[in-house]
């Protein structure tokens, strides 16, 4: 999918507050969000700060989306477990899946293998994105958020975004 279409998809699903830390796999998505006049993209300094910021935005009435690389997932584990999951403060996490099937640089090998286990261990629902399931997955994220009020992750390996 093209970055433009993906951004539209997220906005149409109701996500209206964006923050995060970039990954090259979603470079264009973030650049588009930075320029978007309808929704804010607030650059965060770290992934846990992004999750905290998104939590504040949710309390203030927004439906937030946090973009990050899976290397930042560990960084925000405490925020997810001791803020979002217990207060029931949702957000959509778009997490690029570096090291997917081990095909990546060495710094991504370990987290590439561990990231789904990490999400499983805190019972955070997630789906792997493919070039064909993007619409369905974004729709699913909205459904889970409105039913359970907890964060939901979409894992995005290389090759899904054009």
């Amino acid at each position: 999918m093209r970055a433009e279409e993906f951004v539209e998809l997220l906005k149409e699903a109701g996500y209206n507050f964006f923050t995060g830390v970039p990954c090259s796999l979603i470079s264009d998505v973030i650049i588009l969000l930075e320029k978007d006049r309808q929704v804010p993209y607030i650059p965060a300094v770290r992934e846990d700060a992004a999750v905290g910021l998104a939590a504040g935005a949710y309390l203030g009435g927004k439906t937030p989306c946090v973009l990050m690389q899976n290397s930042g997932l560990g960084q925000c584990l405490n925020a997810l477990s001791s803020l979002n999951l217990i207060y029931k403060i949702p957000c959509l996490l778009i997490v690029t899946w570096r090291g997917y099937r081990g095909k990546d640089w060495p710094e991504h090998w370990v987290m590439g293998r561990a990231c789904t286990g990490l999400l499983d261990s805190i019972d955070l629902p997630y789906k792997k994105l493919t070039p064909r399931n993007l619409e369905e997955a974004v729709e699913w994220s909205s459904k889970v958020i409105s039913r359970k009020r907890i964060p939901v992750a979409l894992l995005l390996p290389k090759g899904v975004m054009e």
């Binding site: 507050f17 607030i42 650059p43 700060a49 949710y58 309390l59 925020a79 029931k88």
Partner: protein
Amino acid sequence: MRITRALKTIMEMVRGELVVAANGRISREAFTLRDRPENFYMIGSMGLASSIALGLALSQPKRKVVILDGDGNVLMNLGVLPQIGALLPPNLLHIVLDNEVYGSTGNQCTISSAVGLEKIARSSGYLVVKKITEEKSLRPTLRQYLKARGPVFLLAKVEAEVEPKGIKRVMHSPVEIRNRFMKSIGSKP
């Protein structure tokens, strides 16, 4: 200045402001002194009170947001200071109760006695920065800053002390805290 006195003055002076309280004693004591729906007690996620408050301030530009932070909390999420300085939300008042220790876990030293958090705030770009040490200057300072255009950083130097008896745990569940807080803003979970 005693922490309890400082918190009591602050909690007496807030009106419609949204208050986000850092974890540990600060949340518990704010709850004990004056529980109100507009208080968000952050019982975990140490360091993130400032980030939560920033997200609130950006999404609720008409509401004043007050952060009750601790020095240990600020040092854990120091990157948020330049983030606030870069975004310049006018409705943010960041109060740090600096006792130079992790008071809630038994007064182990932080490094705030050596670094000067007010200097970091100033170079981070806060519009107004002030450090106070005397209890008597807190009330007039707050009277001014609760109305001032922000972001304002108010460093209140407080004594490290043994936690007094009678400070209760926050009695509301996290979901209750969320619900009543959101209701007080008029936003829906």
